[in-house]
């Protein structure tokens, strides 16, 4: 097995080697050879939907045309669905490779019979890289914290907001959005914990980012309390506990965990 730092370098190098970059976090943007593709080049929204669905379902090995049509265009009958798919597929391949010679294989879409999938080896996709970085950071945690910190930081630089924000009402994007949000919260809070001793203010900021994603995340309040304590701001640590208590009561009707109360006790006893 390659050492963790070499694996990390390899993940970080991917972007410079890929000719197509797909950004899905906080906004949707595709870069062709480093240049963003203008939105109007996608033409119809169905072309964009098809591409975004292939991105979302990239982990499934080959999606059948019928499956894709049923999932994203539920209303379409067979005839309309087939026509829409054909038009959208043509539009998508043309947008991704405007200079492709006719009768040559598409570079970014692999087709086998009636199944389609993205050729990920040619693509840099933000969610995929974020996933790899957090996985590596979790592996490195405890034994190689320096690498873990570097990987979490790199992952959070990629995280610019929720997954495909323009598709929040489409249920085929929900599972991926939820999965990525949880990865981001984990990365924020774990990195914040790692930095508590030496960089408490940075820990407080990271915990705040986690709270922006989920204002009820109790671990993040505890990190902030400890961060304020470490930086000598006892009143703010006490205020943070109050905030935590109020929100848990309002949203769940519950008290903070004994661990959080114990931390409060330690702060009060100072």
């Amino acid at each position: 097995m390659k050492s963790l730092d070499k694996r990390l370098d390899k993940i970080l190098e991917k972007k410079s080697k890929a000719s197509l970059w797909i950004l899905t976090l906080g906004k949707f943007e595709v870069h062709r050879s480093g240049e963003p593709i203008p939105a109007k080049e996608w033409g119809r929204d169905k072309t964009l939907q098809l591409f975004q669905y292939l991105v979302t379902a990239r982990k499934r090995n080959g999606l059948h045309k019928e499956q894709i049509i049923t999932r994203i265009w539920e209303d379409a009958g067979q005839k309309d669905g087939d026509r829409d798919f054909k038009v959208a597929l043509h539009g998508m391949v043309k947008t991704l490779e405007p200079n492709r010679k006719s009768r040559t294989d598409a570079k970014y879409i692999t087709r086998q019979g009636l199944t389609y999938q993205l050729a990920m080896e040619e693509i840099w996709l933000d969610v995929e890289v974020l996933d790899e970085l957090v996985t590596l950071a979790n592996e490195a945690l405890h034994d190689e914290n320096k690498i873990a910190k570097k990987a979490y930081k790199a992952a959070l630089e990629i995280y610019n907001g929720i997954y495909l924000p323009n598709r929040i009402y489409n249920d085929w994007t929900s599972a991926e959005r939820e999965r990525i949000q949880m990865l981001a919260i984990t990365a924020h809070t774990t990195l914040a914990e790692l930095l508590l001793e030496k960089k408490p203010m940075e820990s407080i900021r990271l915990a705040q980012e986690a709270l922006q994603t989920d204002p009820t995340w109790e671990d993040a309040y505890r990190i902030q309390m400890q961060g304020y304590l470490n930086s000598g701001n006892r009143p703010q640590a006490l205020k943070t506990y109050k905030k935590c208590k109020t929100i848990l009561d309002k949203e769940f009707g519950i008290e903070p965990l004994p661990e959080t109360k114990a931390l409060l006790q330690r702060i009060e006893n100072l």
Binding site: E74, I168, D171, T216, P258
Partner: protein, 171 residues
């Protein structure tokens, strides 16, 4: 005909597990949940499943009401009356069963089980009779809260239906 997408309500459920030791040193587990209705991105945090169920019921009743817009009067009446049957059963019989269950837990629970299985699959989970014990003060409080919540929902639903009927009459 309503679009297929308008006939769908999707929910994302998130559960976060917290394991901790309480003041007596006993290990404890707590579940914190969040439910999001995908089609309008509205979300609710909950610590008891009944709150998530209420949230889902409210979204599903909205869906029924929006779906019958444009249907014939006869069809509307049919759908509404079927929908109301379920609500009526819940509204009129549930509080009675609850009161009975407080007085006589075992018989009450048996009756509630029968009623639950009639109301539908979605709430047909069985309760453990053997572990049933007389209701405590906090049980009573939470039951009263649940009843109040149901009452509010039924009032809101009634208002929506009245509004719908008025707008149909004026057409």
């Amino acid at each position: 005909m309503a679009k297929k997408q308008n006939q769908t309500s999707s929910f994302v459920l998130r559960f976060t597990q917290k394991i901790f030791k309480d003041d007596d040193g006993e290990s404890n587990v707590q579940w914190r949940g969040k439910i999001t209705h995908v089609q309008d991105d509205e979300a609710l945090n909950f610590s008891e499943m009944k709150d998530a169920m209420t949230f889902m019921q409210s979204k599903l009743s909205d869906l029924t009401l929006s779906s019958i817009d444009g249907k014939s009067e006869e069809e509307k009446e049919g759908i509404l009356s079927k929908s109301f049957d379920i609500w009526k059963k819940m509204a009129t019989q549930y509080p009675k069963f609850v009161m009975q269950a407080i007085k006589d837990p075992k018989t009450g629970v048996t009756q509630i089980q029968e009623q639950i299985s009639q109301v539908g699959d979605e709430i047909s989970q069985k309760m453990e009779l053997d572990s049933y014990k007389p209701a405590s003060k906090s049980d009573l409080k939470s039951m009263m809260e649940m009843m109040e919540q149901m009452n509010k929902q039924i009032t809101a639903l009634g208002k929506k239906v009245d509004k719908l009927s008025k707008s149909n009459k004026s057409k």
